[in-house]
């Protein structure tokens, strides 16, 4: 799809372990993956397979144990200004994680002012524009607690977009939502994909996958099992584990 040769995200043989009181969990066992600029990659897999962990490693919310992740040409390990890298990578969480003590508008303005050092007027203009873009311009002065789940998630997307990220990571953005709200969030994501945003999406929404994803990745037990265009992966998977998983969710 992309003409550029250099992938914007390169994940090289990444291992990640969690040490807890109950023992060690090997969440990622040698994951490698490239994402080209403008590409939309869908990650599916059973619960606990390491999908979230992979996204969190790309955003450096978790440090990797071994292997290498290069985002936009910058190796994350030992990156001097990790906050700069993070600002280029927007992340949308399953639980929205909006700041509950700030209005929708302030949620979007805050990081622009603090990280991007934009003026108040500029930040507010951008915030209003993005709220309109995600379809809820009238909710600017409302607190997250007064918004529906779908509206909250759209504010969260707008908040991430306000930083003008080159990459957007979505970690099951719709799985905490009621069915009727899922569509409004997916519509926003489809629109983003159409505009050419590089996106890595953990989701089991087939509709979105078929409409927007360039590639689907199936993960299981901390490893990438299979990678293919979504039509092929969903309709004609080559691995047994993929088949088994798909038979459960479809």
């Amino acid at each position: 799809m992309s003409e550029k040769k250099e992938p914007i995200i390169q994940v090289r043989n990444v291992h990640k372990q969690f040490h807890t009181l109950h023992g060690t969990v090997h969440a990622l066992r040698g994951v490698s993956m490239d994402v080209m600029p403008g590409e939309v990659v869908l990650i599916v897999g059973p619960s606990g397979s390491g999908k979230s962990t992979l996204l969190r490693c790309i955003n450096r919310l978790e440090a990797v144990d071994s292997g290498e992740i290069i985002v936009d040409g910058i190796p994350l390990k030992g990156a001097r200004n990790i906050n700069k890298v993070r600002a280029e990578v927007g992340m949308v969480f399953q639980q929205f994680n909006l700041f509950p003590d700030r209005t929708a508008l302030d949620n979007i303005i805050l990081a622009q002012r603090v990280v991007r050092k934009r003026s108040k007027a500029e930040a507010e203009e951008k915030a209003r524009y993005l709220l309109a873009k995600v379809g809820i311009p009238e909710k600017a002065d409302v607190y997250p607690g007064q918004l529906s789940g779908g509206q909250q998630q759209r504010v969260a997307i707008a908040r991430a977009l306000a930083m003008d990220p080159k990459i957007m990571l979505f970690d099951e953005p719709t799985s905490a939502l009621d069915p009727e709200m899922i569509k409004e969030v997916l519509d926003v994501m489809l629109e983003l994909a159409r505009e050419g945003m590089t996106m890595v999406v953990v989701s089991h929404e087939m509709g979105f996958a078929k409409a927007a994803a360039d590639r689907a990745v199936f993960m299981d037990a901390g490893q990438i099992v299979e990678e293919a265009p979504p039509e092929i992966l969903f309709e004609n998977p080559s691995h047994e584990r993929t088949k088994l998983f798909l038979s459960k969710i479809l």
């Binding site: 906050n83 927007g90 990081a111 990280v115 991007r116 991430a160």
Partner: protein, 713 residues
């Protein structure tokens, strides 16, 4: 923050959809709102409220309560002139300019010390001039450089010489003087110090026997035509008369409880005379020898008078002796025989008609008895004695006449006020103050709250200080307890150390009663620190002194400008002696004990902010401090404020425990008052009400904070 609040309000206003039903008319004025609110209360709350108002009203209007409340609040005055008790060294600043012509081989340190010493003890100055004016306190001289005014105290040497009818004076004086007194007014340029306190006495005009003018100082009639001359008078006064109840009587002293509530201690030499009940008792000579047997009757005579009847009545009441008296050991009886006249009583006792007699009349002497005895030299009375009441009787005391000299400051038809010592004032320019030896807060008053050191003021001050300290301890310990975030905390060892140390502190302190902690602070830690000065390594002292010297330079410069004296940091102490006073011990004890609770609040507050908040903030590119500052802390403060407020209230109440360290806090003053007056009911009521008023006010505040920090939705 403020713009956020206004935004909330705007948003609330705009929240109503346009087609929403019009809400019920809101009460406008505070009165209507109050009525509406009261109308919604249950009946028992209304009854309780009315009772509370009555109780409060009666407390505030009763004199007994007013006295206790005044005592508990350190008896503040509305305004005072006694702002500080001060000892100041005042003088001109001496600048040392010149070259050091050192051929002595002194070290630089010696030279500098010498210079500094000269600055600290200003050199003596010699001047000569013609005498212009002289008062007992001051000397005014005309010198080449103008008039100089010299306090005589500062003059070390003086030489006078007469030249053409003028007096040439050569003086050597110190440039600095010490001003001791009470600061009555203070601003950033000058202060007014009362160096001699006024002494005056107010007494009823009825005591004045005669008055005589001893001295008249004419006032300046040219400047002020209507002014009154100042007269110094000597007034002969009749000695005061007191009536009351005798409390103690001895050869040198006498003390009485006055009818109007006070009490007086009097020296016998000031007493001209006093009247108090006395009892004369005598026996017939036969009766002294007689043995009383069953069936006998002992006849005792007494003179009929109210005093005697009262005495017998009180005897029967107090000592449970029946009147007419019955001899308690057997069947013998006492017959009381009433006489109208002392002489007859004495005569009948002497001739054996009576076995004994009692005569109670105002004393201390009974001249009538003495006169009778004198005129009947051969009458035989055994064991005749007059005994003066030692305590509990009514007494009237007249003091000896005296005289008083001074200026009559006020006089009306009932009282007269004589000023015996006029106050003296000194004006001191702030810039001239070389050293403040002592600055102690003066009288407690509304314009001088610094002077209020007891009761409710001490309670509040200790609580505020201790709470501030507890907040600092709590914040540090609380953060140490939550440092488990792997994103920020990589060193496992440090993390374990921090969490276990802070957990140890919290668990230990929460498990010990606050009273015990306070006793530790006061009687274990503080004496230990006092007795064990901490020796500092020499290197540290040198380094610290160098740092302090640098820090002191701008402070000294500021002080030398004479705008406001702020002192300096001094030198680094070696060894460090920690000498805590009672109040500091109490503050440290309370803060240490409460730090644990505050730490738990902070921990809970920080942990209540879900990890997702931090991750969302960081995923937006914020650094850890930024995420803390803009995302986590504002939310944490919201959750933490109400419980912190509750802890403040709890601490205010627990501060009553500091009375074990002999601090005059609210409770301690209440107990002192009660032990003096035995008014336990009023005393403890007032203590409780004062605490209650403070805590009610504070919990209202907490309630408001709680409501304000609640998020919509």
């Amino acid at each position: 923050m403020p713009d956020e609040r206004t935004r909330t309000e705007q948003q609330n206003a705009s929240m109503l959809p346009p087609d929403a039903p019009i809400p019920e008319m809101e009460a406008r004025g505070p009165y209507e709102r109050f009525i509406n609110w009261a109308a919604d209360l249950p009946w028992w709350a209304i009854i309780l409220g009315v009772v509370a108002v009555i109780v409060l009203y009666s407390m505030l209007t009763s004199a007994a309560y007013r006295r206790v409340l005044r005592y508990l609040t350190d008896s503040p005055e509305t305004s005072t002139e006694n702002l500080y008790k001060a000892v100041l060294v005042v003088g001109e600043r001496v600048e040392i300019v010149g070259e050091y012509a050192g051929e002595t081989g002194d070290t630089v340190v010696t030279v500098i010390n010498q210079l500094l010493k000269n600055e600290a003890n200003p050199t003596l100055v010699s001047k000569a001039g013609f005498l212009v004016n002289e008062t007992p306190a001051r000397l005014t001289l005309q010198t080449d450089s103008g008039l100089i005014l010299l306090p005589k105290d500062n003059i070390v040497e003086e030489e006078r010489e007469e030249i053409d009818g003028k007096v040439l004076v050569r003086v050597t004086y110190t440039q600095s003087r010490t001003v001791i007194g009470t600061i009555t007014a203070i601003n950033d340029k000058t202060m007014r110090i009362r160096t001699v306190d006024e002494e005056k006495e107010t007494f009823p005009t009825s005591r004045v026997l005669s008055r005589e003018v001893v001295e008249t100082t004419p006032c300046d009639h040219e400047a002020e035509p209507d002014c009154q001359d100042t007269q110094i008078v000597t007034i002969q006064r009749r000695g005061e008369t007191f009536t009351g109840t005798l409390t103690t009587l001895s050869n040198t002293n006498l003390s009485i409880a006055l009818d109007d509530g006070g009490s007086r201690e009097l020296k016998m030499r000031d007493v001209e005379y006093f009247t108090v009940a006395a009892l004369t008792r005598a026996f017939s000579p036969d009766a002294v020898e007689r043995t009383v047997t069953d069936g006998d009757t002992v006849r005792i005579g007494y003179e009929e008078s109210d005093v005697a009847e009262d005495f017998l009545a009180s005897l029967s009441e107090k000592d449970r002796v029946r009147v007419p008296l019955v001899y308690s050991e057997g069947e013998a009886e006492v017959e009381l025989v009433r006489y109208d006249d002392v002489d007859a009583l004495l005569a009948d006792t002497a001739n054996g008609e009576l076995d004994g007699m009692l005569y109670i009349a105002p004393g201390p002497q009974h001249p009538q008895v003495d006169a009778w005895v004198e005129s009947h030299p051969d009458a035989n009375l055994a064991e005749l004695a007059t005994q003066v009441c030692q305590s509990g009787c009514r007494i009237t005391v007249k003091l000896v006449d005296d005289e008083i000299t001074g200026r009559v400051a006020a006089e009306d038809k009932d009282t007269i006020t004589v000023v015996t010592t006029e106050p003296e004032y000194a004006e001191v320019a702030q810039a001239d103050i070389l050293e403040r030896r002592k600055m102690e807060p003066g009288t407690c008053a509304l314009n001088n709250l610094r002077g209020c050191n007891a009761g409710i003021f001490l309670t509040l001050r200790v609580t505020f200080q201790a709470y501030g300290l507890a907040l600092i301890i709590g914040l540090i310990v609380g953060i140490m307890r939550v440092q488990t975030n792997p994103m920020t905390f990589r060193s496992k060892l440090m993390q374990t150390f921090f969490t276990s140390a802070s957990t140890l502190y919290v668990e230990v302190v929460r498990g010990i009663p606050l009273l015990v902690i306070l006793l530790y602070a006061g009687f274990v830690v503080s004496p230990y620190l006092r007795d064990h000065p901490i020796n500092m390594p020499d290197v540290l002292v040198v380094v610290m002194n160098a740092i302090l010297a640098v820090l002191n330079a701008p402070l000294k410069l500021w002080n030398s400008l004479g705008i406001a004296y702020i002192g300096d940091l001094g030198t680094f102490p070696d060894p460090i002696r920690v000498n805590l006073n009672d109040e500091q011990e109490a503050v440290l004890g309370l803060a240490f004990g409460y730090g644990a609770f505050v730490a738990e609040i902070f921990r809970a507050g920080i942990q209540s902010i879900s990890r997702g908040q931090m991750e969302a903030a960081r995923s937006l590119g914020m650094s850890y401090p930024q995420a803390m500052r803009y995302v986590v802390l504002p939310q944490a403060i919201r959750t933490v404020l109400p419980p912190l407020g509750n802890d403040f209230i709890a601490m205010l109440k627990d501060s009553a425990l500091i009375s074990v360290l002999a601090l005059p806090d609210l409770l301690q003053l209440g107990r002192l008052y009660i032990s003096r007056t035995f008014r336990a009911f009023e005393g403890y009521n007032s203590v409780a009400v004062l605490y209650l008023l403070m805590t009610l006010f504070l919990s209202m505040l907490v309630r408001i904070i709680e409501r304000r920090s609640r998020l919509p939705g």
